[in-house]
């Protein structure tokens, strides 16, 4: 447990520059922002509402408005750089989605290029409709990636787990420990990689080096798991009962993000049910643009961003 206490969340964000150099998890840091100041349950609900909105909407403009709003919200929450990194990740995921859909889908009718017979994939007629639909799915994935990143960065996982603790103490404890172990594993990997490089006979390279490192990290994590289990046992966690409800008054940020969540969900439903954000991809592309759509997009963006306008009472 002392090891758990010693490690700060920041240590994980730049851990593992060796064989695990690219492993840089997006972890929660307490910052002065309205989203950070909001209670975890409401912030999670807000994130869930944005995700649902992205799943309900298909119009590319509406999805683009959501993406722009989430990126701005990220800057409002002080995690803009991390969100920009998440955007790059989303693009890496989204591009293959578009390419695969263009190559595989045969439901579109507006051909822009012909690749001839592609065997099991049929005639390689690439259509505008398949391109557009792939793009829409990529936009949806981008929204989901960005929201997940923002939620990971701005919602306190401990506070979330406290909510779960009332429902199932053991599950919450297990999840909590697993989450806490992640930066420790990264730090272990970094330390071991550095030790590996300082060997006098030269460090092993490639897959062999990674396998050795992985083995050492896994063995270490199992050792630590045994220690943690013993510590928890000694401290009487096995007999712990249901956690008491924590009374905390509702803040203006809680209310603002709750209203924002409801508004985003309502607007997405409105756009979907009234056809204001209608989008037909197959067999012929139909992407209507109108004043109603522009109003919807503006309302969506404002609903996401307005809670960030109130900067009072967000001090750490």
């Amino acid at each position: 447990m002392s090891a758990l206490r010693r490690s700060s969340p920041e240590s994980g964000s730049h851990a593992g520059s060796g064989a695990f150099g690219r492993f840089a998890p997006m972890l929660y840091r307490p910052l002065a922002s309205p989203l950070h100041a909001t209670r975890a349950g409401i912030a999670a609900l807000w994130a869930l509402s944005l995700m649902t909105g992205a799943l309900l909407l298909y119009h590319p403009l509406a999805l683009a408005a959501l993406i722009a709003a989430i990126l701005l919200a990220g800057y409002g929450a002080g995690v803009g750089r991390e969100l920009a990194r998440a955007l790059r990740t989303a693009l890496i995921i989204g591009l293959p989605i578009v390419l695969v859909n263009v190559l595989v889908s045969r439901e579109g009718l507006t051909v822009f290029a012909r690749l001839g017979d592609l065997g099991p994939f049929g005639q390689g007629n690439l259509t505008v409709e398949a391109l557009a639909y792939g793009g829409v799915i990529a936009l949806k994935v981008t929204v989901l990636v960005l929201i997940t990143a923002l939620a990971s960065l701005a919602i306190d996982p401990d506070a979330l787990l406290r909510i779960c603790r009332r429902l199932s103490f053991r599950s919450a404890l297990t999840t909590s420990l697993a989450v806490r172990m992640l930066p420790l594993l990264a730090a272990d990997a970094q330390r071991l990689a550095e030790a590996q490089r300082t060997r006098p006979d030269g460090a092993p390279r490639g897959a062999r080096a990674r396998a050795a490192l992985l083995g050492a990290v896994v063995a270490g994590s199992l050792d630590r798991a045994m220690d943690v289990a013993a510590t928890l046992e000694v401290r009487g966690f096995a007999t712990a009962g249901r956690a008491p409800r924590q009374q905390r008054p509702w803040s203006r940020h809680d209310l603002a993000f709750l209203v924002s969540a409801v508004a985003v969900l309502a607007l997405a439903l409105l756009g979907r049910l009234t056809g204001v954000a209608a989008f037909t991809s197959y067999p012929l592309l139909h992407v209507p643009f109108g004043v109603g759509l522009l109003v919807l997009c503006a309302a969506l963006a404002l609903s996401v961003l307005l809670p960030f306008a109130d900067r009072r009472g967000i001090e750490l």
Binding site: V104, R106, E107, L109, F112, R114, G116, G122, N125
Partner: protein, 339 residues
């Protein structure tokens, strides 16, 4: 040495993109929608052609179409598996009807394709036919007669094939009628004595003769096995004296005796389709030969022809009084509707 390796070769540098572009063009690749095929027909029916949903002599066509894109452009279609499989057309769904499996099948120029509709390009003059039918008896109907004069006129997969009318009696009336009908439809056809001599694998055969004369032909033999073997919902007795007409469940609905004809198409083991013009006797063969008419065959999988006096019609969907056959026989669609 290293300098000489790095020296650009202008000829090669120029030729490579040209060769690439040529290969691109030759393999049917290119930018844009491609050339639009002309004279395309689209027929959409159900129950083996008994009910016509769409019969479009000039369907909307934009550029190089596949069979699937042609359908999507001209009807309300829902698909599955990424657009490769038709689930419904104009609200007529595949699945189960009355406990029997039904699905959409398509034929291009009267020939069932072995590939998915998204894999087959439409060519000029092609007749594309979609039919929703019960495949409880067979899901293999390799060829149908309802797109006549195809596949003789424009061929298969955009390639016109030589047509050979093979008759048991090349100078007989039925043989002359068949050759004449094909000629009238713009199809030059060679007449020959029945038999394997001179038959190329890449030719379309029309076999003409009484059952007893033609039953040893490989394609004709499959008719003995019923729908499961030939895709034809009729069975000729071993003696060739009667023709049993089957419904879509493979049940015998009626039996034609006396002079009766059968006009059907089938395919033997991956060869090109064969058309069979046969009958219980020479008069029956002649009835079948006279049924070789676009109006009589339109939207039919196969037909049986009964002498008018001996066989009354069983229903509006079962018979037709075609331009020529009306004077000599009643054209009965196969499979026959359930009485």
């Amino acid at each position: 040495m290293s300098n000489s390796r790095q020296t650009p070769r202008p000829a090669l540098a120029l030729l490579a993109p040209v060769a690439l572009a040529a290969a691109f063009m030759l393999t049917g690749c290119g930018l844009g929608a491609g050339a639009t095929p002309s004279g395309v027909h689209l027929l959409i029916t159900r129950e083996f052609g008994a009910r016509t949903l769409h019969s479009l002599r000039a369907p909307a066509v934009r550029g190089q179409e596949t069979v699937m894109s042609l359908l999507l452009r001209n009807a309300a279609v829902s698909t599955r598996y990424g657009g490769g499989f038709v689930q419904s057309i104009d609200g007529h769904h595949g699945g189960y009807e009355g406990g029997e499996p039904v699905d959409w099948f398509y034929y291009v120029n009267g020939v069932e394709a072995s590939k998915g509709a998204a894999e087959v390009n439409v060519h000029a003059g092609d007749r594309v036919w979609w039919d929703l039918h019960d495949w409880g008896q067979t899901d293999y109907i390799p060829a149908v007669v309802g797109s006549y004069p195809e596949p003789f006129l424009n061929g298969i997969d955009g390639r016109r094939l030589p047509v050979r009318v093979e008759c048991a009696e090349p100078e007989g009336a039925a043989c002359r009628t068949v050759a004449g009908r094909l000629r009238d439809a713009g199809v030059p056809a060679a007449r020959a004595l029945l038999g394997p001599a001179g038959v190329g694998p890449e030719s379309l055969r029309v076999i003409v003769g009484t059952w007893s004369q033609v039953h040893r032909e490989l394609g004709v033999q499959s008719l003995r096995g019923g729908p499961a073997a030939s895709g034809v919902y009729a069975r000729v007795s071993a003696s060739g004296a009667t023709i049993e007409l089957l419904d879509d469940q493979g049940r015998s609905v009626r039996t034609l005796g006396g002079s009766a004809g059968l006009l059907a198409a089938t395919r033997y083991s991956g060869e090109q389709p064969e058309w069979i013009v046969t009958g219980t006797d020479p008069a029956g063969v002649e009835l079948a030969a006279h049924a070789l008419d676009e109006a009589d065959l339109h939207g039919r999988f196969a037909v049986a022809i009964a002498a008018q006096s001996s066989t009354p019609a069983t229903g509006p969907s079962a018979t037709a009084t075609g331009s020529s056959a009306a004077t000599t026989g009643a054209v009965l669609a196969l499979p026959q509707p359930d009485p």
